[in-house]
Structure formats: structure tokens, C-alpha cells
């Protein structure tokens, strides 16, 4: 007969063993589920009403489908439209939809929904974060339920690309108003539940009319703390962490056979954004001096632990049309000092470098400030949070220097915007941009992109630093996660366990 004390001890031990056994049993089953880790939680789940990348990282291609999709290699592939053609003059786009496409609530997805989606996005009361994508549309017609014909008022070389973005996901009039909390799309996964602050769960859509995904359940977990991210991976709670930015932990995961580390590229050009309208940065010699003062390789080592690619202009090296301009301003502090002296600043000057929260900015900003100090530019570091950055730096354009990655794909046209926070004005660049908008031919477009890159590099508009890497740490045995990130997405439709 055990004593009371022994009984308590035994009970506690048994309870612990049961817990341990339960977690072991779960491992023995063949896996058809997937847990993806992300740093940020989406504020809501409607990709047509918010800019937060996390919204698209959960919903794009999984839950919602645009007319076209961007695949893992950045190519345009069929989405809700199974085929499309463009008229000679580049003004008429005819989309043919999948005949049996259905929304998750059982209603059919037809051309009326396409018309509803596009008209809603360009309406006066639209809250689409990329409303400009829809501005060229003159009218949307629906000759039959399977066909949508979009007529543009002016040619737009990027129209198809924009129609493949999450912001152009096709939504239904019945559910558009409630998509933020209960998203209803046409994708291979449908919404199951959202434990706010912790996870979103999607389950396979049994009625999907296209190829069905191999996994039947995907859970997106949101972990912002870097130490907690590493712990969750090591504890086996998470199968793959995407856009992993705790780069210092990568050697550990590389050395562990239980994990695979994939390093690809995002579309994020990381810049030392410069206020071109403010003294002394309105002088191109000062901007060129800064370009010579920054040692990109050291920066990539220090910030990304080597997992990044240097850039010399505002264009990703993995895209067609890229021109390598990284050699234009080699690291040369002496030359930087000479240029500063020539511009009238032999003793350098004082300035402010404002840093938003991402680790690449906070860590990179310290290094950039140290490099600038070497040539006499004394940059005071000012850390700010996102809301303040957007308000003061981006919208208010009240800044000297800041560090930020521009993650929108193919966004070199921001340099043509009259009110953009760089305060950059170039007739040459704008003329190239107008020509680009009139050009459909891919080869000619790429040549024009090349010209644009050269103009930006010659003017040293911003400090062009590096491409933000797309780092995925995943369990060995998992295949089909995207290596690169041509659009903001965690497309898990092709993922499976070996």
C-alpha cells in the first residue's frame, strides 16, 4: 500500500508520461498536415483591402485566386482564368474562366464575380491598397458566364502581372463584406479557423475543381520573437518557417540533419533611401560619395550573415532585364571624401538616419552609420516604429536618410511618381517610364528596364544595398515550399511530405 506521498508522486509521474506519450504518438502517424511559421500576424484576411504582406502570405493561391497566378519561378500561370488573350493594341483582355469553379460557400465563380471584383476595386469608395493597378480599366464586360472582357483606356505593360496579385483576388458579392474575418475564395484550401494572436488554419477544399493539394490541413502560426521562432522550430512545433530573419541562427540549422535551410530571393530591394530634395543630398556628388562610402559586402555579412546579393540599382538580379551596376561605385572611402570636398563638405556634415523596426534596418543602419562616419558623414540614428515611419518619413517626407526594403515586385516605376518620398525628379527617367507603359514586347521592355536602372545608378538616387533574402528553415522531408518569393505568398498547394 503506497503512502499518500508516494501516490501523489506516482500520479504526477504518470501524467507526465501520458503527455510525453501523446506527443510521441502524433509523430508516428504519416503526415498530411503542415505548420508554417510566420513572423507577423495578418490584421485580417481580405487581400483586396490591405497592404500587410501577411494577409497575402496566408491567402494567396491557397485560399483566394486571382485571374492569373504567379508561380514559384515568377511566371504567370492560370488562376481562376484557364486562358487569356490580349488584343494587338494591348487594350482588350479576354479571360476565359474555369468552367466548374466554385466559391467555398458553394456559389459559382463566373464572369459576374470578375466584373464585381474589378469594379469594386476601382470604385470611388474602394479601399484596395493597390487601387492604381485597376486605374487603366475602362470597362468590364461579361458576354457569357465563362468569359470576362476587360477594356483598358490606355495600354499597360504590367496589367496581367497586376491582375495576378493578391490585391486582384476574385471575390464574390455575397461574401466580399465579410472576407476580413471569414474569407471565402475559390482556392484549393478553405478557411477553417483563426485563433487570433496565434494561428490561422486552412483545410483542403474537397470541391476544388483543379488539382488538389497533397496536404489536407495547413496551420499558419505567428511568432514575432526571434528566440521563440528558433525554439518553435527546434521543438518541432513548426514544419517550415518562411521569411526567417534570425540569420545568426542559420549555421545551427544547417548543421542539423533534421532541418533544411533554403536561401532564395525576395523582390525586396533594400535601400538607404535618401531625401533628394533636402540639402546636402540634392547634390549628386554627395549621393555618389555615400555610394562609394558603403561597403556592401561587409553590410551583407553583418546584417544577413552572408545570405544576400548586392544590387547597384533598383532591380532584382533574378529578373530578366537586370543590368549589373554594382561596379559603378566601388567601395572607396578616399574617393568618397574627395567627392564630399568637391561638393563643399571637406569636413563632412551632420545628418539623421531614421530606422524602422525590421532587423535588417536596425542592424544595417548601425553599420551604414559607421561606414558613413568613416568619410565624415555623422549620421544620428533614430529608431522609430512602423506607424511613425509611415507618417513622418513616407507620407510627410520629413527625413534625411532612412533604410527600408521595397518589397513590391517590379516597382521601379516608383521613381517616376511625382510625390514619392525620395523627392527624385528626372525627365529622362519619366520618358523611359512612359515608353515602358506603351510597350508590350518583352525584349523591348527589358531593354527599357535596363536604361531605367542605369539612370537611377548614375544619379545615385538612393544607396542601393542588397536584395532581402527569402530564407526558409524547414524540416527535412518536406518538399514543395517556395525557395524564392516572386510575390508575397506562402503558396503551399504543391507541398508534400516525403
Amino acid at each position: 500500500m503506497p503512502t499518500a506521498k508516494q501516490r501523489v508522486t506516482l500520479a504526477a509521474f504518470a501524467a507526465m508520461m501520458a503527455l510525453a506519450a501523446a506527443s510521441q504518438a502524433a509523430l508516428a502517424q504519416p503526415r498530411t498536415d503542415l505548420v508554417v511559421g510566420m513572423a507577423l500576424e495578418p490584421p485580417h484576411l481580405d487581400p483586396t483591402a490591405g497592404a500587410a504582406g501577411a494577409i497575402k502570405e496566408v491567402t494567396y493561391a491557397n485560399l483566394f485566386e486571382p485571374l492569373l497566378r504567379v508561380d514559384a519561378d515568377g511566371k504567370l500561370v492560370p488562376g481562376l482564368a484557364e486562358r487569356w488573350n490580349v488584343s494587338e493594341d494591348g487594350l482588350t483582355y479576354r479571360f476565359t474562366l474555369r468552367p466548374n469553379a466554385k466559391f467555398h460557400d458553394g456559389t459559382t465563380a463566373d464572369s459576374a464575380d470578375v466584373k464585381f471584383t474589378l469594379d469594386r476595386a476601382r470604385a470611388a469608395e474602394s479601399v484596395n491598397a493597390q487601387k492604381a493597378y485597376f486605374a487603366p480599366i475602362a470597362k468590364v464586360e461579361t458576354p457569357d458566364p465563362q468569359t470576362a472582357v476587360v477594356t483598358l483606356s490606355r495600354p499597360d505593360g504590367l496589367f496581367l502581372f497586376h491582375m495576378a496579385s493578391g490585391d486582384a483576388a476574385i471575390v464574390a458579392p455575397e461574401s466580399a463584406a465579410t472576407n476580413k474575418q471569414k474569407p471565402v475564395g475559390t482556392g484549393p484550401f478553405k478557411f477553417d479557423r483563426w485563433v487570433a494572436g496565434d494561428r490561422v488554419v486552412l483545410v483542403r477544399n474537397p470541391d476544388y475543381d483543379g488539382a488538389k493539394p497533397k496536404i489536407d490541413r495547413v496551420t499558419f502560426r505567428f511568432i514575432s520573437d526571434p528566440a521563440a521562432q528558433v525554439a518553435a522550430l527546434k521543438a518541432g512545433d513548426i514544419d517550415a518557417f518562411t521569411l526567417f530573419s534570425t540569420y545568426e541562427a542559420l549555421p545551427e540549422f544547417r548543421n542539423d540533419p533534421a532541418f533544411t535551410v533554403m536561401v532564395g530571393s525576395t523582390e525586396g530591394e533594400t535601400l538607404l533611401s535618401t531625401n533628394n530634395a533636402r540639402k546636402p543630398f540634392d547634390d549628386v556628388r554627395v549621393r555618389r560619395a555615400m555610394a562609394h562610402a558603403i561597403d556592401r559586402q561587409t553590410l551583407i555579412e553583418g546584417v544577413l550573415y552572408g545570405n544576400g546579393v548586392a544590387i547597384g540599382s533598383h532591380f532584382p538580379p533574378h529578373r530578366e532585364g537586370y543590368v549589373d551596376l554594382t561596379g559603378m561605385y566601388p567601395y572607396d572611402p578616399a574617393k568618397a571624401k574627395a567627392l564630399l570636398a568637391e561638393a563643399g563638405y571637406p569636413n563632412g556634415f551632420d545628418t539623421t538616419l531614421r530606422l524602422p523596426p525590421p532587423p535588417y534596418a536596425r542592424r544595417g543602419g548601425e553599420l551604414v552609420a559607421a561606414m558613413l562616419a568613416e568619410v565624415g558623414i555623422r549620421a544620428k540614428i533614430e529608431p522609430v516604429e512602423w506607424a511613425a515611419w509611415l507618417e513622418k518619413t513616407f507620407k510627410g517626407k520629413d527625413y534625411d536618410l532612412t533604410m527600408i526594403a521595397h518589397t513590391e515586385p517590379l516597382d521601379i516605376d516608383i521613381y517616376a511618381r511625382p510625390d514619392y518620398y525620395f523627392n527624385y525628379k528626372s525627365e529622362r527617367f519619366n520618358a523611359l517610364n512612359d515608353e515602358l507603359n506603351r510597350t508590350q514586347d518583352p525584349a523591348k521592355r527589358n531593354a527599357l528596364y535596363g536604361e531605367q536602372q542605369k539612370v537611377l545608378a548614375e544619379d545615385a538616387v538612393n544607396g542601393f544595398l542588397f536584395m532581402l533574402p527569402s530564407v526558409t528553415v524547414q524540416k527535412a522531408g518536406l518538399t514543395g515550399m517556395w525557395v524564392n518569393r516572386p510575390v508575397q505568398a506562402n503558396d503551399v498547394t504543391g507541398v508534400s511530405w516525403k
Binding site: 487601387k131 487570433a196 494572436g197 525554439a231
Partner: protein, 316 residues
């Protein structure tokens, strides 16, 4: 007594009202536009204006305050700007994590502290006393987030007994939910238990020196019985006072531990809402927390007033 209660109630209402004005005003002064945060860097001016009017941000400040405070008075906390859901629902959802977490750690810390404090008092100056005092010193010095990291290292990364964080939600069953809350609750409980064990030890030792204990011993009551029946009940008064004080510390500590364990509690809601400039949520949560603190204080005051038969100041 009635006058005392009414005075307490009036000061409670005034405090919460003042808190509502302070939090509203401060949030107006902080830079950051919720519409711009939602729509990002490519938003067009007309889109921003449309969203701002949807969010009600195009109204004058005073109108917005009166609208919000009016709702508050009726018990309506408003609708979140980012999540597009009633704030009351969001808070209730998060309290379903923070409250069980705080309660669980309260229970754990009491279960740890009382036996340890008693043991130390009973064996004053002996090895076990020193061991308890050592634990108490260590527990007080280590912040709960550090204990949290140590617990994760041992129980999640090495032994794989518990998840390293996250919360499956109560809908997945009570078992998995409690399983996820146990480590964080322990991390919160250890520093509290350390303080409580010391208080218990001192309180029991104080009581042991009193006349009625000596009388009981003289009448031939055994050591154990004296400890449990005569010393402990009297020692519980200071212990309970400290325990009461610890409740608000537990809620505050929960905010930090919630972040280490990525638990979707009230603290994380507040943290995320500030980052998103979800003004309605921030205002609602801060006012609720103010109400909570004021209520706990009022209850403690009332309890003391009831326990103390002497007349209240100003009424004699």
C-alpha cells in the same frame, strides 16, 4: 459604511473617466495613421480618405471622444479598426488565455509557497530552511521571462514534453489548452512563489513566538498540530495580503510571458493594437485594465474596512 461605499464608488467612476480622457488624448498625439498603416506605401489619397471615413476618423476629435465614451458608458467598447470585430469579443477571447494563465500560476505559486514556507519555519536554521531561503533568493532574482526561456530549453527543446509556445485554443479541448498553459504558468509562478514562501516563513515564525502558541505547547499540543492549527491560520493574514497584491503583478507579468510563449493573451492584443494604431482596441483595453486595478484596490479597501471594526476616518 454605506457612505464609505458610495465614496469608493464615486472615486472609482471618476478614476476610470479620467483614464479614458488620458488614453484618448495620448493616442491622438502619437504619430501614425491607422488607414495608412492598413493600406501601405502604394495607397492613393482617395483610397486613404475612403478608409478613414469608414473608420470614422474624418470626424472631429471631440465628436469621436463623445461617441466612444458614450458607448463605453453603455458598456459598448466599439469595433476594432483593423480586425473589424467588436472590441468586447476580442477582449473576451484574449481573457480566455490571460485569466486561466494568471489563475493557474496563482494556484501553482500558492501550492509551492505554503509548504515551503511552513517547512522553513518549522526547521528554522536547519538545512531545509537554508534550502528554501536559497530557492526564494534565486526565485526573486530571476525574472519570469528568463525562467520561461530555461523551461522551454528543458521541457520543450530537450525533453519534448511541452510545446515551445503557442495556444491551440479552447475549442480544441481543455487538455491541449492546459498543456500549452502549464509551462508559462510555471514561469510566472516561480518568482511569485519565492516571495510568498519568504512571507509565509516570516509570518509563521512571528506567530510561533506569540503567547497563545506557548500556551498551546504548554497544554501538550504536538509540534505539527501547533504549526498547522494554531500558527498557520494566524500567519495566513499577511500571506493573503501579499497574495492579493500579487494578482496585479501576475496580470502584468503575463504580458511579458505571453510574448515569450507567443500566447494570444490580452498583453499581446494590446501590443499588436498599439503597433497597428488600432486606437479603439488600445483605448478599450487600457480603460478595462484601469477598471480592473481600481476594482481590486476598492475590494481590498472594503475588505480591510470590514475586518477592522474601528470607525472610519472622518465619520467618528
Amino acid at each position: 459604511m454605506l457612505a464609505f461605499l458610495l465614496r469608493r464608488l464615486a472615486s472609482l467612476i471618476v478614476t476610470v473617466w479620467l483614464a479614458s480622457i488620458v488614453v484618448f488624448t495620448v493616442l491622438q498625439l502619437v504619430p501614425g495613421d491607422p488607414a495608412l498603416l492598413m493600406l501601405g506605401v502604394n495607397a492613393q489619397p482617395d483610397t486613404l480618405a475612403a478608409l478613414r471615413s469608414q473608420m470614422g476618423l474624418d470626424q472631429p476629435i471631440l465628436t469621436r471622444y463623445l461617441h466612444w465614451a458614450g458607448g463605453l458608458a453603455r458598456g459598448d467598447l466599439g469595433v476594432s479598426l483593423t480586425y473589424a470585430r467588436p472590441v468586447a469579443d476580442l477582449v473576451a477571447e484574449r481573457l480566455a488565455v490571460t485569466l486561466p494563465l494568471s489563475l493557474l500560476s496563482l494556484v501553482l505559486s500558492t501550492m509551492l509557497a505554503l509548504p515551503l514556507g511552513l517547512l522553513a519555519a518549522a526547521r528554522r536554521g536547519r538545512g531545509s530552511d537554508w534550502a528554501v531561503l536559497g530557492f526564494a533568493q534565486l526565485g526573486v532574482s530571476m525574472p519570469s521571462f528568463w525562467i520561461a526561456i530555461l523551461l522551454i530549453l528543458l521541457f520543450s527543446l530537450t525533453l519534448h514534453w511541452f510545446p515551445a509556445g503557442g495556444f491551440p485554443g479552447w475549442s480544441g479541448g481543455v487538455g491541449p489548452a492546459l498543456h500549452a498553459l502549464l509551462l508559462p504558468a510555471l514561469a510566472l509562478a516561480v518568482p511569485e512563489a519565492a516571495i510568498l514562501a519568504r512571507v509565509t516563513r516570516t509570518a509563521v515564525l512571528d506567530t510561533l513566538g506569540e503567547d497563545h502558541i506557548r500556551t498551546a505547547r504548554a497544554k501538550g499540543v504536538g509540534r505539527m498540530a501547533v504549526l498547522l492549527r494554531h500558527a498557520l491560520p494566524n500567519a495566513l493574514i499577511p500571506v493573503a495580503t501579499v497574495l492579493g497584491l500579487q494578482i496585479s503583478f501576475l496580470v502584468a507579468g503575463a504580458v511579458v510571458v505571453e510574448n515569450v510563449f507567443t500566447l494570444p493573451g490580452l498583453g499581446r492584443l494590446l501590443y499588436q493594437a498599439i503597433g497597428q494604431r488600432d486606437l479603439i482596441v488600445v483605448q478599450g483595453v487600457v480603460v478595462l485594465l484601469a477598471l480592473f486595478v481600481v476594482l481590486v484596490n476598492a475590494l481590498v479597501d472594503i475588505a480591510c474596512a470590514l475586518a477592522d471594526p474601528r470607525p472610519k476616518g472622518g465619520e467618528s
